[in-house]
Symmetry: C2
């Protein structure tokens, strides 16, 4: 029994009219990514390959805030974070502040396979990428006209309200909708999780959110579950959110559905906005969010795929 | 009832003769740092101030692998990581790949107080430091003659065994002894934790270990405990070690002593070397390690301070 769930971020829907055409495009992007992972699982592939394929598809899709189509920092550049974890052997790879690698999740995977370090950041990570044979792309590759316009609007607002007060205000007003992630259970019982993001629009250069942090945004352990989160990264770092779900199973003995629902309740109490997707060792899928929207899709062996935006 | 515990790293004692004079110097360094934190707790200061003061003292002491006296990367530079967390309100600040801030733990504290971002890395973090009024120092400030000699010895070994195979081998041979950390409970019941490190000797530029990762190397929550870890950072990232202790209390309902002893047992089973210090909401202190040595000291209100190296 395989199972796969993906997300394309939690937050508020864009203030600009969310047209039927745009909604269709998002649904299509999610279905294509789901399909990329499902094809592998169906023919007996491992969960790790499936989450990498699904996340890479979402990274390439300019609609989502990961790799191509990522939001811009306060400096007008793109800085990308990603992580991947294999529940078999607790292997993990994570990268942050990536500016020139087309698919950060594939770099994270390469790091996982390499085994020497779990977490590589910035120029050191890109030097590792070059040595590992990745071809680097210009930072412009990631920047879409939509994100350029969003950046210019943020700049103008920043000038109006004053530079000092702006970053926090902007981070709150712009929901982090668009982070992408995937969790999977393969036919052999292996679990894996992956997450990739451009972070929050107008973020301070050097800011790292929860997505690439093992335990916060991404976690997988065959004995419990695989989790990928999306939302206010700062809060998910503080609550160590992905591992918190696994710990509720491991030490609290509760079901995945209960763990996710109680965790979302706690996030509400803390004032933290976001959502998460999870799959457990039995192939049960649980997804929760406390935001107006969370883009997500899921499928299990022998069942029809489903896509939801709200 | 206040309680304070600090560590100066877990690993193997140096292969060079660990003389009585050198042992005395380590004991003295630990006692001075403990004293810096204790003085604050005794007069009603908060746990957050105490762990910052204790860790800053260890950062300034060239004997320890944090700030001044840190190990060198494969490039021959110093890259520093630190985190601090306040169990009251789950506030946190973390910095990594710092090259020019004298006390990384104080920069992490500043980030915690600022509140906008939890985790800032590299040049972006140092720009934040400058804007926050920190005066930057040259990277040379951190490099001691001992560490320069260690670096040159590693370089020679690397040339002998070949550049490609060397990094992993070196990371394993050189124990990460010298990371520093502190956990405290103040008289009002507040808990806090802080950790600071130069990482592993000969690490790849851009490598971030567990120390600055909230949940892995550093965690505090007034409802459970405060934890600081030291050891093979890659493993502690995968096991989300600091939060794992808190989760054993929160969801498993076990005592701090049991949580620490079971966690150390699991690390042994995984082949992960290291140790950790923890204090719970009642002021109980638990420390554990599976390495030949862990430099540590602790004190509780009305009790005598104790220092242990092995």
């Amino acid at each position: 029994m395989y199972a796969l769930a993906i997300h394309g971020g939690a937050g508020a829907l864009p203030r600009v009219p969310f047209t039927a055409a745009r909604e269709h495009a998002y649904r299509q992007g999610l279905m294509q990514a789901l399909d990329a992972g499902q094809r592998l699982l169906e023919r007996g592939g491992c969960a790790l390959d499936a989450v990498e394929a699904a996340v890479a598809a979402l990274e390439d899709d300019p609609l989502f805030n990961a790799a191509r189509g990522a939001v811009l920092t306060a400096d007008g550049t793109v800085e990308l974070d990603a992580a991947i974890m294999d529940g078999t052997g607790l292997r993990a790879g994570a990268v942050a502040l990536i500016r020139h690698v087309r698919n950060p999740v594939r770099l994270a995977r390469r790091l996982l396979e390499d085994g020497a370090h779990v977490f590589l950041v910035g120029e050191g990570a890109e030097r590792f990428a070059e040595q590992a044979g990745f071809s680097l792309v210009a930072n412009d590759y990631f920047i879409t006209p939509d994100r350029q316009r969003q950046f210019e609007a943020l700049q103008q607002r920043r000038q109006r309200v004053g530079a000092a007060a702006a970053p926090a205000a902007i981070a709150l007003e712009e929901p982090p909708l668009g982070t992408v992630g995937a969790v999977a259970r393969d036919q052999a019982g292996g679990l894996a999780a992956a997450t990739s993001t451009g972070g929050t629009a107008g973020k301070h250069a050097g800011r790292v959110g929860d997505s690439p942090v093992i335990g916060a945004g991404t976690y997988a352990d065959n004995q419990t579950c695989a989790v990928s989160t999306t939302g206010h990264g700062e809060w998910f770092l503080r609550t160590v959110q992905a591992f918190d779900i696994a710990a509720r199973l491991r030490y609290g003995g509760c079901s995945l559905a209960t763990a996710v629902s109680e965790a979302i309740g706690r996030l509400v109490a803390l004032g933290a906005a976001g959502g998460l997707i999870a799959v457990d060792q039995h192939g049960e899928i649980a997804m929760g969010h406390n935001t107006p929207a969370m883009f997500r899709a899921s499928v299990r062996a022998g069942e029809a795929a489903s896509v939801h935006l709200r």
